[in-house]
């Protein structure tokens, strides 16, 4: 159940991506960030493949001598497929989602974008850093940083997000409920 996210240690295809591909990927990620800020979640869903795996594992503070790689059988903040994400979005559309009314304000900033070719001609591995500024209620401010490792797939000439692994730089999630997508 649910696909395994690609390991970060996987060797990249040594061939260089074209400038055009890099540009397309950047535009894709910026568009995604804009749709998130606008809470245009239905439009965001169209940017995902049907077999999306959207994963943000729980982190644990451990000594260097006792490392533990995140695993999809372990706890996760997000461990979602398309139906999970669609259900979350449907909840915010019911008109009875009190915790999202008034709305959360957010700014998604994408940077450090790196594109790698893979063994599959239609799939690209994309690394990026996402910073999300979140402002809620009267005066609550939270800033989240996530290191993302994505697989983008070319589906009939259109880029779609097929895998996303987000490693958040917090051991304890330092604020209440996570109500944004990174």
């Amino acid at each position: 159940m649910g696909a395994t996210a690609q390991k970060i240690t996987k060797k990249p295809n040594p061939a260089k991506p074209s400038l055009e591909l890099i540009n397309d990927v950047q535009q894709f990620l910026y568009r995604e960030a804009r749709l998130q800020d606008a809470q245009a979640y239905r439009d965001w869903l169209t940017m995902l493949t049907d077999d999306i795996h959207y994963w943000m594992p729980t982190r644990e503070q451990r000594y260097r001598s006792n490392p533990m790689e995140p695993d999809i059988t372990h706890a996760a903040h997000y461990n979602d497929n398309y139906a999970d994400l669609e259900t979350r979005i449907r909840r915010t559309e019911t008109g009875t989602c009190w915790s999202e009314d008034p709305a959360t304000r957010s700014a998604h900033v994408v940077t450090n974008i790196e594109v790698e070719l893979t063994d599959s001609p239609n799939e690209y591995r994309v690394y990026s850093l996402i910073a999300v500024y979140r402002n809620m209620n009267e005066d609550e401010e939270h800033t989240l940083y996530g290191h993302r490792e994505d697989i983008l797939r070319n589906v009939n000439g259109e880029l779609k997000l097929a895998r996303r692994k987000i490693i958040i730089d917090q051991n304890i999630f330092l604020s209440k409920s996570l109500n944004v997508y990174l």
Partner: protein, 444 residues
């Protein structure tokens, strides 16, 4: 600090709002509740091998829980006996010893001080290492895999402390192979008083249809009628108040009801149905019914779980106005891997940090605390009087039982115990049955 009998009134039905804000009351809670009650530490499945450890908190005290060479589990205050530094900085791992990062004092997994740098050159071998072991938690015990500890050597044993709750919990703790928790725990910070989520999980079935209207509507299933309180399912369950302050709300046959997809509900229901005959044989039908129902529960003071939805939480206090939440997933050890995976995904989707139902609660919990910033606001009382005339003992089941699921029987039971403990009552009084005489009883 106000006298306790001015804080909790009318058999638990009113709580003075300063209880959710005041520093002196919080200190009294640390001294009289968190230093005396049995507190959840870990589950045996999370530290299976000798040297496996978790760090956690008991109240605000930092604690190491570690599996010994002989298989037993001991717990120690996570603070060096020399100058007080934290001894172990990791959440979990495996080790033979803990070495303090300040001067290098090292402690064995049994807490004994085994190494002092420059013992001869600086201490002239005059330090008696046997006097400086890590401070041990007075009592640590496991109940069917659930590990608890108390600082109070005079506290009743864990089985006694679990009280009436044990009779109910055996229905799902005592399954072939037992239960386990999936970690590492999600951890998050909420700016609320620790009692608010504890009372909510254990005794607030009233909020469910309204707070979670959106989440319940999209997940569908047998509880969908609750969304927005369009249906009033008084007959679906009841609440139980146990001795020693433990509480739960019970939905008959509803264990799988909050799984977010129909096929998940079916998969889980099939599993429960396959195991139910064995539980009925072991416990009889009256007790075994609790295996197939949904529970919202709190083990006093701060350990909450939803059996069926299978989220398992500890609310660690961080002052009177903040908590750290630990969240694991509860599964049966013998469940197939696919079902376990489904369980922890559905827990993440509902009551994890990004859970659809968790985020509804978080907003309410914080505001229930933070409004007390207003001096005049916090002079008043909160009310939990629902169904006070409609609860009482039951002929065949232990504890105080409400007529309806929609009741505040659990809240009152929680705050009665809270008042007894903060008042410094002795253990016989704390564990005494906590009930007004029976007025009316629904046949359950």
């Amino acid at each position: 600090m106000k006298p306790v009998d001015e804080l909790v009134l009318e058999d638990g039905a009113y709580q003075h709002r300063t209880m959710f804000w005041n520093e002196d009351i919080y200190e009294a809670e640390l001294e009289h509740i968190f230093s005396r009650a049995w507190l959840f530490l870990t589950h045996e499945s999370l530290i299976p091998e000798a040297g496996d450890y978790n760090t956690t908190r008991m109240g605000e005290d930092k604690v190491i829980v570690i599996r010994q060479q002989d298989g037993s589990i001991r717990a120690f205050i996570n603070s060096c006996r020399h100058r007080g530094n934290t001894v172990c900085h990791a959440d979990a791992g495996n080790t033979r010893q803990f070495t303090c990062s300040y001067h290098g004092w090292s402690y064995g997994s049994n807490g004994e001080l085994i190494g002092v740098p420059l013992e001869q050159d600086a201490y002239f071998n005059q330090i008696d290492k046997s006097k400086f072991g890590l401070q041990e938690i007075a009592q640590v015990a496991s109940y069917k895999g659930m590990v608890f500890g108390t600082f109070d050597a005079s506290a009743p044993d864990l089985e006694t402390y679990l009280g009436d709750m044990r009779w109910y919990m055996d229905s799902f703790l005592d399954v072939p192979g037992g239960i386990e928790l999936i970690g590492p725990p999600m951890k998050s910070i909420l700016n609320c008083n620790w009692k608010t989520p504890a009372e909510n999980f254990g005794g607030d079935d009233y909020h469910f249809g309204w707070t979670h209207a959106a989440g319940v509507a999209v997940m569908g299933g047998p509880l969908e009628m609750l969304a927005g309180n369009t249906g009033v399912p008084n007959e679906v369950g009841f609440q139980v108040g146990s001795s020693y302050g433990h509480i739960f709300g019970f939905i008959e046959g509803g264990a799988a009801a909050l799984q977010p997809f129909p096929e998940w509900r079916e998969m889980y229901d099939n599993w429960l149905n396959s195991r139910l005959p064995g539980q009925e044989e072991k416990f009889g039908p009256l007790q075994a019914r609790f295996y197939k129902g949904h529970w919202n529960a709190n083990i006093f003071p701060n350990c909450s779980f939803l059996y069926g939805t299978n989220t398992f939480k500890v609310w660690q206090p961080r002052g009177p106005r903040a908590i750290e939440v630990y969240t694991w997933t509860l599964v049966e050890k013998e469940m197939p891997a696919e079902l376990k995976q489904m369980m922890h995904r559905s827990n993440a989707a509902t009551f994890g940090t990004a859970g659809m139902l968790e985020s509804d609660d978080g907003e309410n919990f914080e505001e229930c605390t933070q409004t007390n910033r207003g001096f005049n606001t916090r002079q008043g009382y909160c009310h939990a009087g629902m169904g006070q005339q409609n609860e009482g003992p039951h002929p065949d089941m232990p504890g105080v039982i409400s007529d309806n699921l929609m009741a505040e029987t659990g809240l009152r039971n929680f705050y009665r115990t809270w008042a007894r403990m903060v008042n410094g009552d002795d253990w016989t009084q704390i564990g005494a049955p906590a009930t007004a005489p029976l007025k009316k009883l629904r046949a359950v």
